[in-house]
């Protein structure tokens, strides 16, 4: 059963995004002319260096809604609404990745970056920063905001028509296609992005060779039944086009280890669990994270929260990915996202105070630092009632 309401809301978002650029964003508070140490005026992620580490920069509201849609954790999104602006802290892992992306040789096979760290240390926000950079640097973004939504909270399940024993998450796939389209609106209209072969969906429906990618995506969105197939076809096309040098691609997947965790919450009719390797979407994104293509970069996070709670035992990639997943990603560049440094914590508290979120009392920073153990999420939680 397709829930028409959900799909309608999807389309509505699609429409909104299309017209978003014309909408003027709400009145933004102007930043103080004098420079604060916790805030940088350098709002362009292309120019961020290690000197900016620990400082906040502002993401324009319209960019945030389009490019970081779903990329910010929900609790952070509520904060941005309260603070009336979206600010991200420049941190070392993201600057490191950005520096790497700047210096990469794109004729070589794609490099995989794996972000890992304890719960609440800021992996997703690091990725959001990288994503913002990639968007500015003209990458085509293939961004899965949170894989847990598919593996642990799927909208609907249907068995695949073309593949024996496989299952489709068509509603989620269509939602992702809408997201992909809105993120890359400006790039997809380029004339070079054309399908390299004909895609046949059924007896009567097919997408001919040399039609634009937009047509392919629109077909997936309009014909929900073929959304998962369309994602597969899109992944294949993107690989071909990127290899041919028509575009630069950044694949960003949050909670990547969910692809290798057998106990999903995707259930068949008799409450039988569908493992991730029997879901068509998995295939598309696993093929995108292989290193058999160039002109691309891949950033994934491995996160404990993407798997069931009883298995939150370690935050290291080898445990979270398992043998199979580790071998799939190997060789990769591990990027450890650590807790706040004392400087970052002070800057975070300064930011909260400037936004009038917390009131100052003597030795506030020291007390909260020891209570939160410098963990960004815990710090945020501790500050909610101050």
């Amino acid at each position: 059963m397709i829930k028409s309401g959900t799909f309608k809301s999807l389309l509505r978002r699609h429409k909104n995004v299309l017209h978003f650029c014309q909408l003027s964003s709400a009145a933004q508070p102007q930043s103080d002319p004098k420079s604060h140490s916790f805030r940088t005026d350098e709002n362009d992620p292309l120019k961020h260096t290690l000197d900016h580490v620990g400082q906040y920069y502002r993401v324009p509201q319209n960019e945030c809604k389009v490019y970081l849609y779903g990329g910010l954790p929900k609790s952070y999104e509520i904060q941005t609404k309260t603070f009336n602006e979206t600010c991200l802290m420049v941190r070392k892992p993201s600057v490191d990745i950005i520096n790497c992306l700047k210096g990469l040789d794109y004729t070589k096979p794609a490099v995989r970056f794996v972000l890992f760290g304890k719960k609440g240390s800021g992996k997703s926000l690091t990725m959001a920063h990288v994503l913002h950079y990639a968007q500015k640097a003209g990458f085509l973004l293939v961004h899965v905001p949170w894989l847990g939504n598919w593996m642990r909270n799927p909208k609907e399940l249907s068995s695949s028509e073309t593949r024996e024993g496989f299952y489709d998450l068509n509603l989620d796939a269509a939602a992702w296609l809408v997201h992909f389209k809105s993120q890359n609106e400006h790039l997809l209209s380029a004339p070079e992005l054309k399908t390299t072969r004909e895609h046949v969906w059924s007896k009567r429906e097919s997408t001919p060779k040399d039609s634009s990618l937009l047509e392919l995506i629109d077909h997936g969105i309009n014909r929900l039944k073929y959304a998962s197939e369309c994602v597969l076809a899109l992944a294949e096309e993107l690989k071909q086009l990127t290899k041919a040098g028509n575009c630069k691609t950044l694949v960003a997947i949050d909670g990547f280890n969910a692809f290798f965790y057998p106990k999903t919450r995707v259930f068949k009719e008799k409450k039988e669990v569908v493992p991730p390797n029997k879901i068509t979407l998995t295939e598309a994104f696993l093929s995108l994270t292989k290193f058999d293509w160039n002109n691309a970069a891949i950033v994934v996070t491995v996160d404990e929260i993407a798997i069931a709670e009883e298995d939150h035992k370690s935050h290291f990639p080898r445990y979270l990915l398992g043998k199979e997943g580790f071998e799939h990603l190997d060789p990769f560049v591990p990027v450890f996202v650590d807790a706040y440094s004392p400087k970052e914590l002070t800057s975070c508290m300064d930011y909260y105070r400037e936004r009038k979120w917390v009131r100052y009392f003597p030795q506030q920073d020291e007390e909260l630092a020891s209570l939160s153990a410098y963990n960004p999420y815990k710090l945020m939680k501790l500050c909610i009632s101050l």
């Binding site: 309260t82 009632s385 101050l386």
Partner: protein
């Protein structure tokens, strides 16, 4: 200074005749501490003050109770908020009660900040109170009644007689009303959200709880003719 007063009382007990066992038991109730144990001084400022005046020297060798686990020297600690948490608590589920209060404070902050950012006029903007604790204290203060009605039977008829109440009773009633008002809500509104709304309203001297207080005062005023039943 309560601690010093208690200390001198205790000193009297020790220096004077040895208290009889029955006295200790009577005074002590269920406590594991004998009655001559003094309350701990856990706030840094109070400790410093005691050290300055030299009282600390006297307290050094007094038998002292251990501090409770919610008595810390942190600036986030607030006696009135702790008391309120205990009033909210049911079945001894303190972490739950504490969480509700914290969430209520979070909601207060979010609601007030939204007002703050919406406001264009800088003068009004500066007046918006953003501190949830200040709002809480103001709300409790604004809801305190000064009189209460108590039923007294005279000649087979129960009269609602206005009586003055102690500050402690008045504070308790204020907090009780705030909690009761927050529980009276739509099914799909959370308690902590409603509590936040009630606190903000009460701090601005509006809302249901303040009205309840005023209604009680009015009733007391109307029943003033019965006041003499308190004595006769």
């Amino acid at each position: 200074m309560a601690a010093i007063k208690l200390f001198s009382n205790n000193l009297k007990i020790i220096k004077g005749s040895v208290p009889t066992l029955s006295l200790i038991i009577q005074k002590n109730g269920m406590s594991q501490y004998p009655s001559y144990y003094i309350q701990p001084v856990y706030k840094k400022e109070v400790q410093e003050e005691l050290a300055k005046t030299g009282e600390a020297q006297k307290l050094t060798h007094m038998p002292t109770r251990a501090a409770l686990n919610n008595q810390t020297c942190s600036h986030t600690q607030d006696d009135l908020v702790n008391l309120f948490t205990n009033y909210v608590m049911k079945d001894g589920l303190k972490p739950l009660a504490r969480g509700l209060i914290e969430q209520a404070f979070e909601n207060i902050k979010r609601i007030q900040l939204e007002k703050y950012h919406k406001c264009q006029d800088p003068e009004i903007k500066a007046q918006i109170e953003l501190d949830p604790r200040a709002i809480f204290h103001k709300a409790v203060e604004n809801c305190k009644p000064i009189m209460n009605l108590t039923p007294i039977k005279r000649g087979g008829v129960r009269y609602q007689v206005p009586v003055p109440i102690t500050p402690k009773r008045s504070q308790f009633m204020s907090m009780k009303w705030l909690i009761a008002a927050s529980k009276e809500k739509d099914k799909n509104v959370r308690f902590h959200y409603q509590l936040a709304l009630e606190l903000i309203d009460a701090a601005n001297n509006k809302g249901r709880v303040v009205k309840r207080k005023q209604d009680l005062h009015k009733q007391c005023e109307a029943n003033r003719a019965y006041a003499h039943y308190r004595w006769s």
